[in-house]
């Protein structure tokens, strides 16, 4: 028999289409696009209309587009969150534009009202979409695949043959075969209906739910996050309380009670570097050996923190973010009394850890006349000094350390109440010690060497060098949930995009001449080469069990006996 069909012709109007409509329906749980009509029923009507709009695919699409558009300005305009100084510079350069930007929240796009509105609406829409879809899907799982449409010929993949086997036999064989292939199958009337690929829907729902989990985890993390810095000298310790931090930033709902109780001691910092070759000086490892304890009375444990390998304690992470040297110095007054003895952390200036800083003697010092005064030493430190290279270190490790000091005396101005950096020297009320030629005194010290200040003002001794490490301690609760959500999202997405949900029907009926006519058809959510392939495969196996019978002699007579003699427009499944 041969058939003529005209695809792409009559749309959903034809009456037989309802037939396929039922069979093809619910192949996904995507909401139907029925958004026409304006409500007429007062407030509730409007609310319902609004809700339907919001949870429609079309609005979800628009909100997604808006989300992408809304994220753009934040990448082009400086943001307070990432670079406050750039924002300040921008405000200075654009006096008219900046206030407008500020009003629009363009300096903090991702926490602005409008950006939040977009994603909150999107996620409300998402929840409003997921809940009914989940119910619908549960319903589909409880129910059975829809029965065969009347005209299987109109499905995107179709095959037929005649066989001597009884219709029941064929159906039974088909049922067994489809079940073996993990289809959900049942006999409905004269045909077997089967469906497979439910994991696609599971994946899709899991993906969308995972998005919500990620958003909630992220929001949670933003509200309760904390980030602080602490510079620790070798041998010194840190305990996680507010007062111990050098600086700290936190989310709106974070309270100091939320600080994970722990403490640690920096036993040793070790940096190793490439010692030769073209990469000389390139850092190979940075390791901070810590002894730490969790909780107030935790047991001491040892660990090593490296770059990219933070220490995790509860919700907190301890990152190693910088290191440097801290020369140990002893300052004596004219009488030889020790007025200061400590390790002074210096800040690195370059990759060979040339460092600078200030040693400040704030109290306890009296000058030669017995008057109370303050001392300061501008310090410049080269961990590896090489002759002829006075201003920078030649290697990052402590090979030949030299401490260059410039002594000053006077008033450091620390009592004025203005906070000042421990690494900078305010010289307004300080005078330099002069050498014999009347120039600013300056000396290079090696470990153990002492610089004597003129006129019995005392001395400073460079005792040795400690290393320091800077730790960033962050607390970002919810990141485990965010990661879990992200992984679920990827798997859900893969399931949703790679798995085909499809239906197969096998109809076996007795033809007028007593011979059984078998018809098989397949329908997928999207047109896919896999559906006909699979159908061919199934048909091949079934054909072996219900082999073909010879055609009746008269071909033309056959066509009138076949179940679907008419030429009908093809109406396939659609994505």
């Amino acid at each position: 028999m041969s058939k003529t069909t005209a695809p792409g012709e009559t749309p959903a109007a034809a009456p037989d289409d309802q037939d396929l409509g039922a069979a093809g329906s619910q192949l996904s749980t995507a909401p139907a696009e029925t958004l026409t009509g304006v409500p007429s029923l007062g407030v509730i009507g409007w609310a319902r209309w609004f809700w339907r709009q919001l949870t429609s695919m079309r609005v979800a699409l628009l909100l997604l587009l808006l989300l992408a558009l809304g994220a753009i300005p934040g990448s082009l305009i400086p943001q307070t969150g990432t670079d406050a100084t750039k924002v300040a510079a921008f405000e200075k350069d654009h006096p008219t534009l900046a206030p407008i930007y500020d009003k629009l929240g363009l300096f903090h796009v991702y926490s602005s009202v409008w950006f939040s509105a977009i994603y909150i609406l999107l996620f409300v829409s998402l929840i409003g979409c997921i809940v009914p879809r989940t119910w619908q899907f549960v319903g589909q799982l409880r129910g059975r695949p829809p029965g065969a449409p009347k005209r299987l010929t109109r499905l995107p993949a179709y095959t037929t043959w005649r066989t001597e086997a009884e219709p029941e036999q064929v159906r039974e064989a088909a049922l067994a075969l489809l079940r073996k292939r993990r289809f959900r199958a049942h006999v409905a009337g004269d045909a077997v209906a089967a469906e497979k690929g439910y994991l696609r829907e599971v994946g899709n729902l899991a993906f969308h739910i995972a998005l919500i989990v990620m958003l909630v985890a992220f929001a949670w993390g933003q509200l309760f996050k904390m980030e602080g810095n602490k510079l620790v000298l070798e041998g010194d310790g840190f305990s996680n309380t507010l007062t111990q931090y050098d600086d700290i930033k936190s989310g709106t709902l974070f309270s100091t009670d939320d600080l994970t109780p722990f403490s640690f001691t920096l036993n040793d910092f070790k940096g190793t570097y490439e010692v030769s070759g073209p990469n000389k000086g390139t850092p190979r490892t940075y390791e901070a050996a810590l002894t730490y304890s969790e909780g107030a009375y935790g047991k001491d444990k040892k660990t090593v923190v490296k770059v990219n390998h933070p220490l995790e304690i509860g919700d907190s992470k301890v990152y190693l973010t910088a290191h440097g040297y801290a020369p140990v110095v002893t300052v004596r007054d004219g009488k030889g009394n020790i007025v200061y003895s400590d390790a002074v952390p210096l800040l690195p200036l370059d990759s060979n850890v040339t460092s600078s800083g200030v040693i400040k003697v704030l109290d306890g010092y009296r000058n030669a006349k017995g008057v109370s005064e303050q001392l300061a030493f501008q310090a410049f430190f080269l961990p590896s000094y090489a002759k002829g290279n006075e201003v920078s270190s030649v290697f990052p490790a402590l090979l030949n350390p030299v401490l260059n000091l410039e002594p000053y005396y006077g008033d450091l101005g620390v009592n004025s109440g203005i906070p000042q950096s421990v690494y900078q020297l305010d010289k307004t009320h300080m005078k330099g010690f002069k050498d014999a030629k009347g120039l600013q005194m300056r000396e290079n010290l090696k470990p153990g060497e002492t610089m004597t200040l003129p006129n019995g003002a005392g001395s400073i001794t460079y005792e040795g060098t400690k290393e320091w490490a800077n730790f960033q301690i962050t607390q970002q609760p919810g990141s485990g949930w965010a990661l879990g959500g992200a992984i679920a999202a990827i798997f859900g997405l893969a399931g949703s995009l790679f798995i085909q949900r499809r239906r197969v029907w096998v109809r076996a009926v007795q033809g007028a001449d007593g011979v059984t006519v078998v018809e098989m058809a397949g329908l997928g959510r999207s047109e896919s080469a896999k559906v006909p392939e699979e159908l061919g495969d199934l048909a091949g196996i079934l054909y072996d069990q219900a082999p073909g019978a010879p055609d009746p002699d008269d071909d033309s007579a056959d066509s009138s006996k076949s179940p679907d003699p008419q030429a009908v427009p093809a109406e396939g499944a659609e994505k």
Partner: protein, 375 residues
């Protein structure tokens, strides 16, 4: 100075290898150029054959309102052992247009040139691959420390994707000319504007997440690129079919070129599959980046420009996938979304590196050159 910055002092180059790498890249360009001419020859010879299948199919449909007849296999007594044949039918509303025969248009000589072009592409790919490999060896790190390296790696992967699809016997031969043209542009840009001597310092943060993150990013970009090319071709072919279906007469050039491409529906499906297939990987790329940022910078997500644009790209592709599932947005509208999404990817790669400064430091290398080149 932070440790992260300190670790950026990467290996200085092994000059020999770096020179070999440069030679290989130039050689690859030369061979790609030959391949380019061979593809052109394929198209030229192909134009001799008068195909007009699309027109035939469409006029048949509109004129007779009758689709090509389908014959269902009769299980006659003689053919009992033969399996029944499956009849496949286009979805509702879809035009039943056969795929074009490809660039050679069924012309034997054209086909020969096409085969030569593919062989040359394979050769050029191998040479370019060698160039990327020696470049990587010369600096003892992954070959994506700066935009030059990124570009050469990117085009290598894109060609690799194309050749893999070919090897899998997918119908993608028609992509050849379009792909190689842009690969040549990409390489040209790389060796002129973006070139960065191999001994430049680059970030070499020691985290395997960096390797995972960047390699998947490049791969996703290459696949998105293939998707974008076929989307553009889809748009052309679709207009062409629309014109024919409404009785219009497309120009001779359109006739000659577009008729040989696969049907619009096939192109559309191909680009959808390609984009959909890498979308989960792109999702993974962003997440891997976030995990790495969490380990390296102490925060998972900070709306750094690179992060932001990865997010925008991701949302744009999600829009595209949604659009395909929404009635009024299929076809051309969805295709425009796919192109916008790829535009976002491109901007993330070039635009953000050039116009916006962020934490992703590899972008800095080569910037000076661009600025002096008037960017």
């Amino acid at each position: 100075m932070t440790l992260a910055a300190a670790t950026e002092l990467a290996a200085a180059a092994n000059e020999n290898l770096a020179n070999i790498s440069n030679t290989l890249i130039y050689s690859a360009m030369a061979v790609y150029t030959l391949a380019f001419f061979a593809y052109i020859a394929e198209w030229l010879f192909g134009s001799r054959s008068k195909v007009g299948r699309t027109a035939a199919a469409l006029t048949a449909q509109t004129a007779a309102k009758k689709a090509p007849a389908v014959t269902v296999k009769k299980a006659g007594g003689t053919a009992v052992l033969e399996r029944p044949k499956v009849v496949v039918r286009a979805a509702a509303g879809a035009r039943d247009v056969p795929d074009g025969p490809g660039a050679h248009g069924g012309d034997e000589q054209g086909d020969l040139y096409g085969r030569i072009a593919i062989s040359l592409t394979v050769l050029a790919f191998l040479i370019e691959f060698g160039g990327v490999l020696t470049r990587a060896l010369s600096v003892e790190r992954a070959p994506w420390g700066n935009m030059y390296e990124f570009n050469i790696t990117f085009s290598t992967v894109a060609v690799g994707v194309y050749l893999t699809l070919l090897a899998l016997k997918k119908n993608v031969r028609w992509l050849g000319l379009f792909l190689i043209t842009t690969v040549l542009l990409d390489l040209g840009l790389a060796v002129t504007v973006l070139y960065t001597a191999s001994d430049q310092l680059v970030p070499a943060l020691h985290s395997y997440w960096l390797y995972i993150h960047v390699s998947t990013a490049i791969f996703c970009g290459a696949v998105f690129y293939v998707g974008a090319v076929s989307t553009v071709l889809y748009l052309f072919k679709d207009s062409y079919e629309n014109k024919l279906a409404s009785g219009g007469k497309p120009g001779r050039f359109a006739n000659s070129v577009l008729d040989r491409l696969p049907a619009a529906a096939s192109l559309d499906k191909f680009s959808y599959r390609v984009n959909a297939a890498v979308f989960p990987l792109w999702t993974f790329t962003i997440i891997a980046g976030a995990i790495w940022a969490g380990d390296a910078w102490g925060r998972y997500w900070g709306w750094d420009p690179k992060e932001t644009w990865s997010f925008i790209t991701w949302v744009a592709y999600a829009c595209y996938l949604h659009a395909r599932a929404t009635a009024g947005w299929k076809g051309r509208k969805a295709a425009y979304l796919a192109l916008i999404a790829f535009g976002c990817w491109l901007f993330n790669y070039y635009g953000v590196n050039i116009f916006v400064s962020g934490k992703h430091s590899y972008a800095d290398v080569g910037l000076g050159v661009l600025q002096s080149a008037g960017f």
